[in-house]
Symmetry: D2
Subunit: 327 residues, 4 copies
Amino acid sequence: MDIDFYRNNNISVDLAIEAHDIVRGQLGTEIPGAVVDRHKFPSATVTTVKVVEEQAAQMMGKPVGTYITIEAPAIRDNNRIAQKEVAEVLAQQLSSLFNLPENANILIVGLGNRQATPDSLGPKVVEQTIVTRHLYRYAPEELKGGMRSVSAMAPGVLGITGIESAEIIKGVVERIQPELIIAIDALAAGSVDRIGTTIQIADTGISPGSGIGNKRTGINRETMGVLTIAIGVPTVVNAAIIAQVTLEHFLEKLKTNPMLNQIQQSVMPDYAQGIINDILSPFGGNLMVTPKEVDSLILDTSKIVAGGISMALHPAISTEEYSMYLN
Amino acid sequence: MDIDFYRNNNISVDLAIEAHDIVRGQLGTEIPGAVVDRHKFPSATVTTVKVVEEQAAQMMGKPVGTYITIEAPAIRDNNRIAQKEVAEVLAQQLSSLFNLPENANILIVGLGNRQATPDSLGPKVVEQTIVTRHLYRYAPEELKGGMRSVSAMAPGVLGITGIESAEIIKGVVERIQPELIIAIDALAAGSVDRIGTTIQIADTGISPGSGIGNKRTGINRETMGVLTIAIGVPTVVNAAIIAQVTLEHFLEKLKTNPMLNQIQQSVMPDYAQGIINDILSPFGGNLMVTPKEVDSLILDTSKIVAGGISMALHPAISTEEYSMYLN
Amino acid sequence: MDIDFYRNNNISVDLAIEAHDIVRGQLGTEIPGAVVDRHKFPSATVTTVKVVEEQAAQMMGKPVGTYITIEAPAIRDNNRIAQKEVAEVLAQQLSSLFNLPENANILIVGLGNRQATPDSLGPKVVEQTIVTRHLYRYAPEELKGGMRSVSAMAPGVLGITGIESAEIIKGVVERIQPELIIAIDALAAGSVDRIGTTIQIADTGISPGSGIGNKRTGINRETMGVLTIAIGVPTVVNAAIIAQVTLEHFLEKLKTNPMLNQIQQSVMPDYAQGIINDILSPFGGNLMVTPKEVDSLILDTSKIVAGGISMALHPAISTEEYSMYLN
Amino acid sequence: MDIDFYRNNNISVDLAIEAHDIVRGQLGTEIPGAVVDRHKFPSATVTTVKVVEEQAAQMMGKPVGTYITIEAPAIRDNNRIAQKEVAEVLAQQLSSLFNLPENANILIVGLGNRQATPDSLGPKVVEQTIVTRHLYRYAPEELKGGMRSVSAMAPGVLGITGIESAEIIKGVVERIQPELIIAIDALAAGSVDRIGTTIQIADTGISPGSGIGNKRTGINRETMGVLTIAIGVPTVVNAAIIAQVTLEHFLEKLKTNPMLNQIQQSVMPDYAQGIINDILSPFGGNLMVTPKEVDSLILDTSKIVAGGISMALHPAISTEEYSMYLN
């Protein structure tokens, strides 16, 4: 795949692991200033991409920071035992990104549109979250030992509120002063394989243009003034990518024929973009590919994410019990 | 009815017209510092209570300001022609409380819990509201003539977000700086007759302790720094009031018997409160009386309120078309 | 309490245990033809009322059959460990009412109105139910050993569909021919104490006039042609009962005064009903008392009921895992 | 486009107008046994395809019957005045397909999954429908003149109920014996242009394999025993079609180069299908392309369809008022 295609067409690659693989493919070598590490767990593979230097950030189109990708086909497989293991891996990885006292305040933000199923992951996670901030100030000391102070909000989307999500969040953050923000969002992936198999955790928050909704202002440490961890789950692929990849695969096959190989070089730049525009034009870039059973995918994923967050934030919640503490 | 009962029991009388009637009943004369005016329309009666002086405010437990009560049985009667007329009356009365340039920013706030039907009026009105703020800056001048810049939010309730509604709203208000806030809330009435027949508009916003949710911080000009109009619709009556009124009616009937009349004087203070506590104890003061078909009541009312707001804010929306502009 | 009052006013006593206690109170002795048995569990007390003879059925206004009442304050207390125990007790008691082969077909029916929170328990349980009927015919034998064939439906309410629930269910039952129907419904209790503390299981199904919605045709073995177990959970109390009980408590206190005692006898029949009618008239008998936080009550209860059903029907689901198998 | 592709890949072409155009394109002449008629209205073009002979039915893969297609970009344009005109056209066209006495019973069936926005059109239309059957038997004669007896149901989807929609509907139809069924469903179109611009009305009901959910049994006169009109609105395109059309467009462009033209003939059959399978494999054929703002598309469309149905069924509802009669 050609990252220039995405850039030229304003199709964001939300997953750092995909941006990394594209750029490394173009370079033919490891990306200077980016460090990759991989671990295998029974139900998941965890890949950490640390974008250490500004040059790597520029090449990948991703800010300097840590991007953890959990790859787990169990998310899609309706295997609840394995899903529980994925939630534990998520809890563990999430915990590695912050170091907070037990009385810290945490704000959970569910981005996206609760009315449009493929974009409803964030609000669904908020629904499943155990909120304690309002109880916390009255709680006895011994209880506080096991539960942190958590609040949660789903700011809605621009088309429904008339207000950018980042404005709403910033307003609330200024008033309640959390020590950590965890923002959950549905992502657009670069490949159908990613839907329902991948969770990304990033300590860089959410950057302009990411997510399947157009959140134009970033939600990150720079804009919010506090560590902002984003948890993103691919639920759609932009339809333009399906068209693009179809052409690429076709041309790839033509390569085996030497005469055709030469044609590929010449025709591709001329035709590809025009064709995609023709086919998808009525909705601009706003056509999304999503599984027909997206509702059960979103429901299962929201439980994994909400469960993982609860285990990471509240030491008192054991892995045996976590599913009991979903709403 | 005895307002001391409500005060002693922390049962708020949300409607100024009810507070006014109780106090006037106790005084036996008009309340000094409060001015009442009444107009009849085909489908509604409009009563304006102006609390002019602080003394009247103290007696009624309502801040100085203007309280407009629309009484219209049509709200409950599923008569859509009459409901349209009520929306027009609401638009007219609402307009009388503000004087804004055509390019003013207005923030609609839907208070309450979308998950609990009797408390979901505010969020439902937000769903029905035409939001234009995000379009407004790109709209051509001629369009702006007919549509004001409107944004809308439903902040949720403390038990679900862990954050007081007033904190969330204040945060957003500081960032988007509206010239007017209109806050919609489900109210607890002092009588079952009020459910589905009454709309209150108040330029004093929402005061601590009002509404069927406990919104502890006020949402008004004082806290928000801008004119805040509250639109409140009774959807419930506190169960304690049912018990209280039952006893009062019973004792009233006993009065016809002179011997019993004397008993009434002595036993009431001793018994009434204890009985009510006994019966309703498991949920403290938090039991509400609501019609079984509260869902259709809330739906119809939300259309009247959203329609009235749209006609008041957007001169371009005619009364013939208003129902087309509900979402 | 006086069961004649309920009968005269068409207020049903949905719980057999309440009907039993009222009748026994009136008789001053055990009811002939009704057998009561009680067991204590750590988180719940289980009372079984067997209405054995027609005479007892007549007196109690409940058909001949077995009524199991689980009383467990944990349902309301937001204690999830105890709620799990209640689900186990429910599973056990439910299992005692049927004896089915492993390949039996079971139809779960969620009665009530999903749009009105206090009446939404049935549809919520259906949402949480693991449905397997469509998978079952393709499943390998070894899987079938642990999971029965389950289907689920929420027929809606008359005001929204224009069709009686019983008609819809009967039509489906004739086509899919289940060996067992389990119907879940929100009930109206005779006392506020019952809300969020009680679950009733009855092998008599649902009789005309029961439930908080008016389901005029019964849903039981007689109408459906197959064993129909009803699981009912009180979520409301009729407002007329609050008024009635208030008067009764008041008059009870007057009894201590001999002169007043005599008055009670004479005035009660004359006044009580008229007062209640006056106060509640605008909505006839259709005013319900419900806790303000009815949404979380319904959510917690639906998980207990759906979890209990899943454990009773699917031997493969262990009590440790059951909460993982809620949707 | 090549209809063999769709057939080979089990991708249904839900719109008769698309099937017609494909087959006519292949034939190079009008289809024998199919009659096409076109009318223009201010906001819509109406094309009627009558499949008169069995041969035409075979070629088009559509049963003998009348297929009316309303093409109206206004559906997508958020122009509510034009949307009202589309509802009127729909009412008119729908009325042309039935001839019923004023006291006829009509059953509205909303197919699809309310939890998955792109598939939720049917249930949303049911929500907006005015249901009168339960009132009708008590209504005075003069009222009956203007309103027909209408009931409505949303049977849910197989994955959630475990029961095929057709089984549930058939069961209900046998009990309530309607004279007409109107079934509403979201469709999968053959082109992105169709999304939010097209409504199809067919007196052949719904055939196996149609719709975006797999409704394996037909819902039509044959299975239901009564005239069954289907109203279908494309809300998605199968992702395989995007890939297919992309390749076709590309190869079309290659034709201008004579040498390449020859290649096209040879490579297409070998490569195309394999490529599509590769790209979309994880979800089989179940990936759908849908606009990001599918929620507002579904909401607007459901009002047009419900409004059109109400105007067609209830003579008493004028076109001026129809939007007032949406729920």
